[in-house]
Symmetry: C2
């Protein structure tokens, strides 16, 4: 696995070689949850949960309506199994009415102290070591590295610089609708509960085109819901060297073990020649801080 | 003018100074048409016009419907006075059905040979010299520089690296809706005629927040329709050093001379302490290649 990754980078960066790609076309995209750090439970769900609890008194309807009722009652157990759409709806509802400036501050404060329920350490120490290494290697070789997350753009981009060395504006994800308002003589953006779009599946290539304007030549995702299949396929085109990487969660001791019921991602990997990575057998270490 | 710009950059980059801003917060945004190069006639309008003419035979309805009829009949004279919305609608309609990959190639080919009708030189040689100098100075001082254009994102980003040294993904603008389709076993994005959003006025701060995720500390626009007022106001916030620059087109000999009927941009500049720049009196040269 390691050799194939390194060979690909060497191929596209060797001037005069048949697979040479100019620096401005060296675009890599990484999924976030489950690809760069654990997705069980979703960190953004835990972030939403704290505020949902503190606001629940003003929202009696949450006690009976899904997904709020399940989140409030079951907490991280629910967030372990909830869909991306449900989790993002919790974020949208919990932070509706907040300004974007305040939201970013909320993210900083939450992740300064919050700890993962199973691994009992800060989320910020749970970045997968091999992925951090790969991103550094790509950047050292002239790649622009983007994150394409189904989670909240606003949340991930506050953390991306510290966690992965990726600037805030190189994060693509899901967002809510905001309104521009004049308050106390200055312009502020306030979040609404309305989900603007969920960056998943077939929408990932559309968002990459809209934001980046180039086809990636390297795309990295993970097995969970098939949400990265379109993105990986989009990065493959005839006549241009490219690499697709799909990570399997098959390490129940050091991380988690789960598969897709229909196996769609692995089938697509086999059909299209993607690189399958086993967390159990291919990774010497899981987390960066070990 | 020059001194105030240089002083601002020195202020925010001097470690330990009261106005110091960390590199990751040094975000600058520039409007494009009329701020970085001439907006009369809109270059993207000329780009649309060529294809409108070649497709007009298949679209008899364009002969009677606005803005197509005016564009086909009056050409660059119409594009000199048309609104941003009308011009972008021409781009949307002319390139509907095209793949994004082909569209980008179309842009490259058009601008490789097209010449400005009055200045009779390639559009690519009409970048304002002082603006190119300012962008270089900002980048040398750790700024991330973004373009926020009311024109087509897809068009501007193909040119931005060569014209301004700004990467494709640092361009924000107007876009059309695309569809993801499987054709000949690969995924392509095809453009629809539907306008996804016009990046103007109050939508500029929203797009900056969505794409960049930070408030700019430097914003540069020009006097024409008031379309940059919200963006400049958004870059001002209490307690953070910032600078807003508004360019006046008052040089009918070397470029063009025009004002807003209601003078809204200049009024906002005076009310908020923005830096007004006269092309006629403050710029030694207009275009980069002089």
């Amino acid at each position: 696995v390691r050799k194939r990754l390194l060979d690909f980078v060497t191929e596209v960066t060797t001037p005069g070689g048949s697979g040479y790609v100019t620096p401005s076309e060296r675009v890599a995209v990484f999924d976030d949850d489950g690809t760069l750090w654990p997705e069980k439970p979703r960190a953004q769900g835990m972030f939403a949960l704290r505020r949902l609890h503190s606001l629940a008194g003003n929202h009696p309807e949450w006690r009976t309506r899904m997904p709020y009722a399940a989140a409030l009652e079951l907490g991280s157990k629910y967030l372990q199994e909830a869909t991306d759409e449900e989790v993002f709806q919790l974020v949208a509802a919990a932070y509706a009415g907040r300004t974007q400036d305040a939201f970013r501050q909320d993210v900083r404060e939450f992740f300064a102290t919050a700890r993962h329920p199973r691994f009992d350490r800060p989320y910020t120490q749970l970045v997968y070591g091999p992925m951090r290494e790969l991103i550094s290697h790509l950047k050292a070789n002239g790649f622009r590295v983007f994150i394409s997350t189904t989670g909240s753009t606003d949340l991930v981009r506050v953390l991306a610089e510290d966690l992965y060395g990726i600037p805030a504006d190189d994060v693509l994800g899901s967002s809510v609708v905001s309104t521009l308002r004049e308050e106390d003589g200055r312009l502020v953006l306030r979040r609404l509960a309305t989900v603007h779009g969920l960056n998943d599946g077939a929408l990932k290539p559309l968002a990459i085109d809209l934001h980046v304007g180039r086809r990636p030549i390297l795309a990295v995702g993970n097995v969970n819901s098939g949400g990265d299949v379109h993105m990986l396929r989009y990065s493959q085109q005839p006549g241009v060297p490219s690499l697709q990487v799909l990570i399997r969660h098959d390490d129940f001791e050091r991380e988690y073990a789960y598969e897709e019921p229909d196996g769609a991602s692995v089938k697509a990997a086999n059909a299209n020649g993607w690189l399958l990575v086993s967390m159990r057998y291919d990774w010497l270490r899981i987390f960066g801080a070990e």
